[in-house]
């Protein structure tokens, strides 16, 4: 039982990282109707920046904050100078552009910092605490809580602020938004910037566990996409819940399902997708999962 609860808590923590990445994908999709396959790549780059800063003697927390700021700026610039041209065109071409971006970012990270694994210091202690009689790691709790806080902030931004309302308006109908005086281009940049910043949080939280490599988040991207499919592109809450379910289920499956084990747990979300598609084609929460016809 002890082990089971530990697995669940650890699953929630990795699920939270997938959730952050998945939310970033939803954010960009809401704003521009695209699926950004470079979302994980941008997050890895942010983690490298934080890592590089700590090596220069910058305290870890400050380094992570700076990397988040860096990501925001980079995301905004990518929107303005790379994606803008492809946004209202063929979505498939735009997706290929993001794949090109992923390749480029991976290449830049590998070129600057090699493809070797680098140790990334952890924000949270690796020790365990006793919670309701079960020992769980502080890192797992910390990671989960950090992502929950970020999600609440994000929700507050979209539901309660003028900027959030403007971002949503631009996502629905950019031209109408412009007719009301909304600076559409700048808002799209903000949307991409926020998504990249969110990814940077995910990168900093997961890098200590995975150790830093240019392809560190390739698998996480796959999980995040699975969460997006299961949760429905229109439902941030659904995406987060789906990411948690995936995180917990894959952890449990790795231990309790003989064939799957740790090496094949990446298959879990896709088995889940197949089951869901057969039972509930509209996704777990979304109104419909029709991505963009």
């Amino acid at each position: 039982m002890d082990k089971f609860i530990q697995l669940v808590v650890d699953g929630l923590s990795t699920g939270s990282v997938y959730a952050a990445l998945a939310l970033a994908i939803v954010l960009v999709h809401q704003a521009t109707g695209l699926i950004n396959f470079a979302q994980g790549g941008l997050a890895v780059l942010a983690a490298y920046v934080a890592w590089w800063l700590t090596n220069q003697g910058v305290p870890l927390v400050l380094a992570i904050l700076l990397s988040i700021v860096f990501s925001f700026a980079l995301g905004a610039l990518v929107e303005r100078y790379l994606m803008r041209r492809f946004e209202r065109g063929d979505p498939d071409t735009a997706v290929v552009v993001t794949i090109g971006l992923l390749t480029l970012i991976t290449g830049v990270a590998g070129w600057l910092w090699t493809y070797n694994n680098q140790q990334f210091p952890s924000l949270f202690s690796l020790e365990t605490v006793s919670l309701l009689g079960v020992s769980v790691s502080i890192r797992s709790i910390g990671t989960t809580l950090a992502i929950v806080v970020v999600m609440v902030l994000l929700q507050a931004l979209f539901a309660g602020t003028k900027l959030g309302l403007a971002l949503r308006a631009v996502a629905v109908n950019p031209q109408s938004a412009a007719f009301s005086g909304l600076p559409v281009g700048r808002l799209l940049m903000v949307g991409w910037g926020l998504a990249a910043a969110l990814g940077a949080v995910a990168g900093a939280l997961v890098a200590p566990q995975l150790t830093l490599t240019p392809g560190m988040l390739d698998n996480a991207l796959v999980y995040a996409l699975a969460a997006v499919i299961l949760g429905g592109l229109t439902s941030p809450v659904g995406v987060v819940v789906a990411a948690w379910i995936i995180g917990v289920l894959e952890n449990l499956a790795a231990v309790y399902v003989g064939f799957i084990g740790f090496d094949l747990k990446v298959a879990v979300p896709f088995i889940l997708i197949f089951v869901v598609l057969i039972v509930r084609p509209q996704g777990l929460f979304g109104r419909k999962v029709v991505v963009r016809v």
Partner: protein, 236 residues
């Protein structure tokens, strides 16, 4: 005083020239109609004003050349465009649509008052205030589109085919409300309308476009009397 003046405005979509020298003058507090057959360039004229299509010639608003400005800049100067097809924000509620309309305003109190005014002008929206705009009927969406435009406290309203796709009685309701708005607020208007009779209930003067050119301009009274023009261009 002239609020908006267009002189020799041209525009094209790719190789197709749509506007070939359109002129228009809207006085302060005035309302001018643009009439003409389909494809005459009515909508494009509005799009040239609001900056959604690249145009040549001269477009002067309140003494300032606005040609080539981005749509959001044009809106910031006080021009609100109610596009053909309404352009309401489907995933947002009616209230959120109205708040987006007031995006550039800083006076929270005035915004709240204007929301109340809009709901008074279009009572149908009152009960739907929490509904998603996409759930509204066509008439309600048109009302919402106009209301959203009013929320920016514009000095000039560009109204594109507000009666399109509406039942005659609904269209009349919409135009009645817009006329009341005009009387109460004095907002100047450029009104594009297929249904000339409906347009004449609102505008003081009008110009008739044909293949991107003015072919006839006059007061409503003058134009209304011209039977052959009416048959040819105004579909009435």
């Amino acid at each position: 005083m002239t609020l908006l003046e267009l002189e020799g405005v041209t525009a094209s979509y790719g190789p197709v020239q749509v506007l070939d020298g359109v002129s228009l003058r809207v006085p302060d507090n005035g309302a001018v109609g643009i009439l003409g057959a389909n494809g005459a360039g009515k909508t494009t004229t509005l799009r040239a004003i609001s900056g959604t299509v690249r145009a040549g010639g001269r477009i002067v608003f309140d003494g300032k050349d606005i040609r080539g400005l981005r749509p959001d800049r044009v809106a910031a100067l006080g021009i609100a465009h109610v596009p053909e097809g309404r352009g309401t924000l489907g995933d947002l509620t009616v209230r959120e649509n109205l708040r987006v309309g007031a995006y550039l305003r800083k006076d929270a109190k005035g915004v709240a008052q204007d929301i109340d005014y809009c709901l008074d002008l279009f009572p149908n929206l009152q009960n739907r205030i929490r509904s998603n705009a996409s759930a509204l009927s066509g008439g309600e969406q048109q009302m919402l589109a106009v209301a959203r435009a009013i929320m920016s406290k514009p000095r000039l309203l560009l109204l594109d085919e507000a009666s399109l796709g509406l039942a005659p009685s609904t269209a009349k309701n919409v135009y009645d409300a817009i006329r009341r708005l005009r009387i109460e607020s004095g907002i100047a208007m450029v009104v594009v309308e297929q249904n000339a009779n409906l347009a004449f209930t609102l505008v003081d003067s009008a110009t008739v476009l044909e293949t991107g050119r003015n072919v006839l301009t006059g007061t409503s009274a003058e134009l209304r009397g011209m039977d052959e023009i009416r048959r040819a261009y105004l579909g009435g």
